[in-house]
């Protein structure tokens, strides 16, 4: 089998804080094939965005420190290359779109200039040619009157339009990996649906692999091929999207799916009480040696509090880090 497009192994990231050392990522591993969409879910503070920033090598050092691991893109370990090489990679091979399009666009440059800048830097195109590319990209993300819009500024556009501009910018150099960090959280649902349709359409055309970070299981269900569930800096479960939704194994994954009021096409007359996950995500400086979910887990036993479980294969391409499952994969 060929090496995957992107392969992360045993990634560890620590931050020094006044409260002590926080291990924000612990033993993260993932692999991504061209054209695939990998979803990362979890509550805030569980390390979703930190995983993305580590792949882009954008973790602030200090206070952060990448302790161990490798991030291989087409075989090249991005954690070992020079900063100069990394600047070539960012925006060209891997690009990223963020939650709030207004704060990620520069308010004093026209959107055309901002898209063109990426192309000029990475492909060495001239001013004219790069602006032409900007217009072409705006058309690709279905912005009407692209020739006129290319001269406009971010404040002249709606939230949905701005996120389209971000996507145009991110895809201008045809990266092989696109990281989308909660790309639609700030948008209305009808606009969110448009943005997801657009991402799907562009992915089919270009074969870009997408890492989609979201707290919304519904978003993951519709967009992702595979899902990684993170909790307190670790991957607690990983499987295909269908598998995660149909038979979630980790108590945290089960809780995440059960605690959300899912929209039903025919709501039952009697309204059920939602399943709660008690408590909150622990402070990362206070993680003990046991499973970090144990304090909130209904099934926690002595063993869970003593030693953290290692990921275990419980089905085809389905791994879970939980003491409830033995070698046989039985609960």
């Amino acid at each position: 089998m060929d090496a995957p497009l992107l392969e992360v192994e045993n990634l560890e990231v620590e931050f020094s804080t006044r409260q002590g050392v926080a291990r924000v990522l612990d033993g993260i591993a993932l692999s991504l094939e061209p054209g695939q969409t990998l979803g990362i879910v979890g509550e805030s503070g569980c390390g979703k965005s930190m995983t993305a920033l580590s792949i882009m090598r954008l973790v602030p050092v200090p206070p952060g420190r990448i302790g161990a691991g490798s991030v291989r893109l087409n075989g090249e370990d991005l954690l070992q290359v020079t900063e100069k090489r990394m600047r070539e990679v960012r925006g060209k091979d891997i690009s990223m779109i963020f939650q709030e399009p207004m704060t990620s666009l520069n308010p004093v440059y026209s959107i055309g200039d901002q898209i063109a800048e990426t192309v000029r830097l990475h492909e060495g195109l001239g001013r004219r040619a790069s602006l032409d590319r900007a217009v072409e990209m705006l058309k690709a993300v279905h912005i009407p009157a692209a020739e006129r819009r290319v001269r406009e500024f971010p404040h002249q556009m709606s939230g949905g339009m701005r996120q389209r501009v971000m996507i145009a910018m991110a895809l201008a150099c045809q990266p092989s990996v696109l990281i989308a960090d909660e790309p639609t959280t700030a948008l209305d649902v009808t606009v969110q649906a448009q943005v997801f349709d657009l991402l799907k359409e562009l992915q089919e055309k270009t074969g870009t692999a997408i890492i989609l970070i979201s707290h919304d299981m519904g978003v993951i269900a519709e967009m992702a091929d595979r899902v990684m569930v993170m909790y307190a800096g670790r991957i607690v479960e990983e499987a295909s999207t269908d598998e995660i939704l149909e038979s979630p194994k980790h108590p945290y994954t089960q809780g995440l799916i059960a605690c959300v009021p899912h929209l039903e096409e025919e709501p039952p007359l009697e309204r059920a009480t939602l399943t709660e996950i008690p408590g909150v995500v622990p402070a990362l400086t206070e993680l003990g040696s046991g499973c970090s979910y144990a304090p909130r887990c209904a099934y926690a036993a002595d063993r869970c509090r003593r030693k953290a479980p290692e990921p275990l294969e419980v089905g085809e391409e389905h791994r879970v880090a939980c003491w409830l499952y033995d070698e046989a994969g039985a609960a």
Binding site: E43, S44, S158, G159, G160, M161, D188, V189, T190, V191, Q192, A193, Q194, F196, D197, H215, D216, M217, G218, V219, I220, A221, E222, M223, T241, D242, L245, G255, L256, I257, C259, V260, P261, H262, L263, E264, E265, E266, P267, L269, R271, T273, L274, T275, E276, I277, P278, V280, V281
Partner: protein, 347 residues
């Protein structure tokens, strides 16, 4: 009987809103062009049954929050009537208005910005009672302790400051504060939107429990259809300052009649549907438009995939087409077949 009468009927309705309008004038841009008018809420009529939860759902700019704030008289009302427990709120002023506000309290969206960072949690919860001069100081302290227990906090936590609490705990403080004056109606303005998914369930369950225990009535504002479907008894869908559809929760989700409601429901990504389900759905084009000087005719027509000439010309009225189910759309006939029936494959 017209829809309006069906809606604003008396009886056991705690809140009755009739033809409520909230317009904001914009400053003129220069000497020659007059400023526009934002029709934030443009003639909405609804009533909330005592002890029930009434949901208002819509996208940003639909006017749902303004509608809720107007019910509390927290924004200037341009026209219409608001009756709370039989008392006309729009003409109240001064002390009389303040006394009525004891009966109607609010829980805000953001538990970070809605609590004063320099006040202790106990003082935050006690403040409404202080302002309303309720009981002796010692009684207020005892009530604060009781409220803390009731919302799932420990009474000794009253001495802490907001930053010492998590987001979910802060929202519990916000709920305790809303309960302090023993209100009948609580406006919940996106009370769980700023919370983590796992915490949302804790707050939604708490709200339900409190409703059962105290017989509370909720006016629940949200953009999240899943949450609305879970918690509300009756629901109004707002678009550009108007109610386009209104019904009980089962009827609304089982048979959405307005094309906007239908599009809104089908745009929600759901873990209950599978990948591929999205391909079969029709998408709305464009963004929700601006409520400044809206066009004549149906306000949804510019984005509606089914709009005909008449929709751009004549304004539809909200009318009852099934028992308790109101819709404002020219294309929904008396046989109750919505224009999207063919596309949706029979709803």
């Amino acid at each position: 009987m017209t829809g309006r009468d069906a809606l604003a009927g008396g009886g056991d309705h705690l809140l009755e809103v009739r033809d409520l309008k909230v317009h904001f004038r914009l400053p003129r841009r220069n000497m020659l062009t007059p400023g526009g008018t934002v029709h934030a809420v443009d003639g909405i009529t609804y009533s909330v049954r005592s002890g029930s939860t009434f949901g208002i759902v819509g996208e940003s700019g639909s006017g749902k929050t303004t509608a809720a704030l107007a019910a509390m008289r927290l924004v200037p009302v341009t026209g219409g009537s608001i009756r709370l427990d039989g008392v006309e709120m729009t003409t109240l002023a001064g002390d009389a208005l303040r006394r009525m506000r004891r009966k109607i309290q609010i829980v805000f969206q953001d538990p970070y910005s809605s609590l004063n960072p320099r006040m202790r949690a106990g003082a935050i919860v006690r403040e409404p009672m202080d302002l309303m001069d309720m009981g002796e100081p010692a009684e207020r302290e005892a009530r604060v302790a009781e409220l803390f227990r009731r919302v799932g906090l420990r009474p000794e936590q009253a001495a802490l400051f907001p930053h010492q609490f998590s987001g979910g705990q802060r929202q519990r403080i916000g709920v305790a504060r809303a309960l302090a004056t023993q209100p009948q109606l609580i406006v919940c303005d996106e009370p769980v939107s700023a919370l983590d998914v796992a915490i949302q369930a804790q707050i939604l369950n708490l709200l339900r429990e409190l409703q059962d225990d105290f017989g509370l009535t909720y006016l629940f504002i949200s953009h999240d259809l899943g949450v609305v479907q879970h918690i509300c008894d009756d629901i109004a869908v707002m678009y550009l300052g108007e109610i386009v559809e209104q019904s009980d929760r089962v009827s609304l989700f089982t048979l959405p009649l307005h094309p906007y409601t239908w599009a809104l429901i089908s745009a929600v990504p759901s873990a209950r549907r599978r990948k591929g389900a999205r391909d079969s759905r029709v998408r709305l084009q464009g963004d929700p438009p601006n409520p400044i000087d809206p066009p004549p005719g149906c306000r949804f027509a510019p984005r509606c995939p089914f709009a005909v000439d008449r929709c751009h010309r004549d304004k539809p009225v909200l009318r009852e087409v099934r028992k308790g189910h109101l819709v404002s759309c020219h294309l929904v006939g008396d046989d109750c077949v919505p224009p999207h029936a063919a596309v949706a494959g029979g709803a």
